[in-house]
């Protein structure tokens, strides 16, 4: 693969980040990119390698370690008509810029009565499973699902990452793009210029017994669980929401009309998570579709631990998903 030339289409998830930024910048001169160590160094995970060489220091800028300034700079530049892409290195660092994201980025349009639109793409490296411990591994997407004014996407494949990034950059609203650190080696093929619409879930596989909804790392575990359950004669539909806000409820409800059983798998504690919110909405809008109480497979109510055995126990496993699916079938 020659990430630096940005011509190869068979890529892994890591390489797709740089490629998707590259293509968005090629397509629109108002797009530029900044963050900590993203330029000359190519990013701490090498997810942005090569961009600085192609576009130079005017369009690819290294910032100080100043998350508030990074998000604020993106807001201001967007208000001036540009389409900035800004990176928060580890998603957890968004806490430093919480005010900028929640009080400024999310509310600017509404508070001004629509005078200002903010086409900001904020990229964040997310998630547990890599041994980075409690301050570098959280499911940060759940911090933002209850904040009106933000769109939130969480792609789990190369194709979705590329397509949602193109959609995010073209969107006139702020979009938070969560990239999962455990998926960097996942392989796929990008179609240059392809857009995955924000707000559209993907039906990853179809089965008539149970609907499993899972994103990012959990999506891959759900697919593995579903393959195992096939052998037991339990056939699952797996839906990857891909976008968490606005959530594609209709695809889930349509599947429940077939299966009548729901298992949602979410990384992180249940309370305040997108999975819990989905279960609540299904209870409100799809109660009569259900033949069993909906299940939420999630993490215990603790910070993310460091030790491999503990972190493994913290994350929902394939076994956990299989067990919950069996239990809704036996309900």
């Amino acid at each position: 693969m020659s990430a630096e030339k940005f011509t190869e289409n068979a890529l892994n998830y890591r390489q797709t980040i740089a490629r998707s930024i590259h293509d968005a910048m090629q397509a629109d001169p108002s797009v530029f990119f900044f963050g900590e160590d993203i330029g000359a160094a190519g990013g701490p995970f090498k997810t942005t390698a090569g961009l600085f060489d192609v576009f130079g220091p005017h369009r690819v800028r290294d910032t100080p370690i100043s998350e508030q300034a990074i998000v604020g700079a993106a807001i201001g530049a967007a208000a001036m008509g540009q389409r900035p892409i800004a990176e928060i290195m580890f998603a957890d660092f968004a806490a430093v810029a919480h005010d900028q994201i929640v009080n400024q980025l999310a509310k600017y349009r509404y508070m001004t009565g629509g005078q200002v639109r903010l086409p900001v793409t904020l990229r964040l490296s997310n998630g547990a499973g890599s041994g980075f411990a409690a301050q570098h591994s959280q499911p940060v997407e759940n911090w933002y699902i209850g904040v009106p004014g933000l769109k939130v996407v969480a792609p789990g494949t190369v194709e979705d990452l590329y397509g949602l990034m193109q959609a995010a950059v073209r969107d006139d609203d702020p979009v938070l793009v969560f990239e999962h650190k455990t998926l960097f080696s996942v392989k796929g093929t990008v179609t240059p210029g392809a857009v995955v619409p924000i707000g559209s879930a993907a039906v990853v596989r179809s089965g008539g017994d149970v609907t499993i909804v899972a994103a990012q790392l959990m999506r891959h575990r759900a697919v593995e669980a579903a393959a195992r359950l096939d052998d037991e004669g339990i056939h699952c539909t797996v839906i990857d929401p891909r976008t968490l806000v606005p959530f594609d409820d209709e695809t889930v409800l349509a599947s429940l009309r077939e299966t009548s059983r729901l298992v949602v798998v979410g990384e992180g504690p249940a309370d305040g998570s997108w999975g819990a919110a989905l279960v609540a909405r299904v209870a409100r809008h799809g109660f009569e579709l259900l033949d069993a109480a909906p299940r939420l497979v999630c993490s215990p109510f603790t910070p993310v631990p460091y030790a491999e055995s503990l972190e493994r126990a913290w994350l929902p496993s394939v076994d956990d998903i299989v067990a919950e699916v069996r239990s809704v079938v036996a309900y």
């Binding site: 108002s30 530029f32 005017h58 800028r61 910032t63 100080p64 100043s66 508030q68 300034a69 998000v71 604020g72 700079a73 993106a74 807001i75 201001g76 530049a77 967007a78 208000a79 001036m80 008509g81 540009q82 900035p84 005010d99 900028q100 009080n103 400024q104 600017y108 349009r109 509404y110 508070m111 001004t112 009565g113 629509g114 005078q115 200002v116 009106p148 004014g149 933000l150 769109k151 609203d173 806000v245 606005p246």
Partner: protein, 300 residues
């Protein structure tokens, strides 16, 4: 300046009639800062300010009817009634908002300057903020980034001696706030914030420097908040005689003394007072926003 003073007196009246929701923060005494600074800018230069922002928006030329309507939460308000007193915004006049989290708009002001620098146009971003802001992290991140990228930004501290209820000395270990600039290798200058001409001249110098690629400047305008922090604050913590001393140096009085034509300035006051009364009445006649507006301008 007279328009701002009359407008704010009208807001005070509305507040006491219970027509202003939440709170409101008046600009009385600081008029020369907004008017002087805005006079030094081009109409396309983006401006941001604080929740004590009515004066800045009016200095930018916004319609007093739309400003009153916003404060009253009426249809026809600058922000359609969704922002209120603390968030007056008029992008049609390059006013990018009154911001109500202390310091939060400084990174945004840096971004407005970045937008201009990136696209290669020569706008200068000017941002107003209070003395209390020099102690919050966003201030430091913003000044640092503006300096390291040589962005066209003018930072204007409105030092009115009080951060909310506390005097500057109780919260800040330096007395000359402009000295904060030294840590960011940018000029830090003080100006008499009640002298509109002095403010205009020092901002003009900073704006010219920024427009020429010379980077940001920190200006400390020394002024005085003649009223409490918000309309619920009687400001009893002020030392005896302080207000009177500053009223002697009221910026409008100073300007009228400079003009030296009592008849002409009296006639201006009379004309503006009538205009503001009419604006207030016009705003009061506007309806509340339609409930359907609740759901617009969120996402999508």
């Amino acid at each position: 300046m007279v328009r701002i003073r009359e407008f704010e007196n009208g807001v005070g009246t509305l507040f006491h009639r219970n027509l202003v929701r939440g709170s409101t923060h008046l600009y009385n005494g600081q008029e020369a800062v907004a008017v002087g600074a805005v006079a030094a800018l081009r109409p396309t230069d983006p401006v941001t300010c604080t929740y004590r922002g009515h004066g800045v928006v009016l200095a930018r030329g916004s319609d007093p009817v739309a400003c009153y309507a916003e404060i009253l939460g009426r249809s026809g308000g600058l922000c359609g009634g969704k922002g209120g007193s603390m968030h007056l915004t008029d992008v049609s006049r390059a006013h990018y908002g009154s911001h109500a989290i202390v310091g939060a708009h400084l990174p945004i002001a840096v971004g407005l300057g970045l937008g201009a620098q990136y696209r290669g146009t020569d706008e200068v971003s000017l941002t107003f903020f209070g003395d209390g802001t020099v102690n919050i992290g966003a201030f430091h991140e913003a000044l640092n980034l503006a300096a390291v990228w040589s962005l066209p930004v003018v930072f204007v501290i409105e030092n009115n001696l009080y951060g909310e209820y506390s005097p500057v000395a109780a919260t800040t270990p330096i007395t000359r706030l402009a000295d904060r600039a030294a840590g960011y290798a940018m000029p830090g200058v003080q100006v008499d914030g009640n002298d509109v001409h002095a403010v205009r001249d020092i901002v003009a110098t900073a704006a010219e420097r920024a427009r020429g690629g010379g980077g940001p400047t920190l200006i400390e305008a020394l002024t005085y908040r003649q009223v409490g922090h918000s309309r619920s604050d009687p400001a009893t913590y002020r030392p005896e005689g302080e207000l009177d001393a500053w009223l002697e140096r009221d910026p409008i009085t100073l300007l009228e003394r400079f003009i030296g034509d009592a008849a002409a300035t009296a006639s201006v006051r009379e004309r503006v007072a009538a205009e503001i009364t009419a604006a207030l009445d016009a705003a009061l006649a506007l309806p509340e926003p339609d409930e359907a507006e609740l759901l617009t301008d969120v996402i999508g």
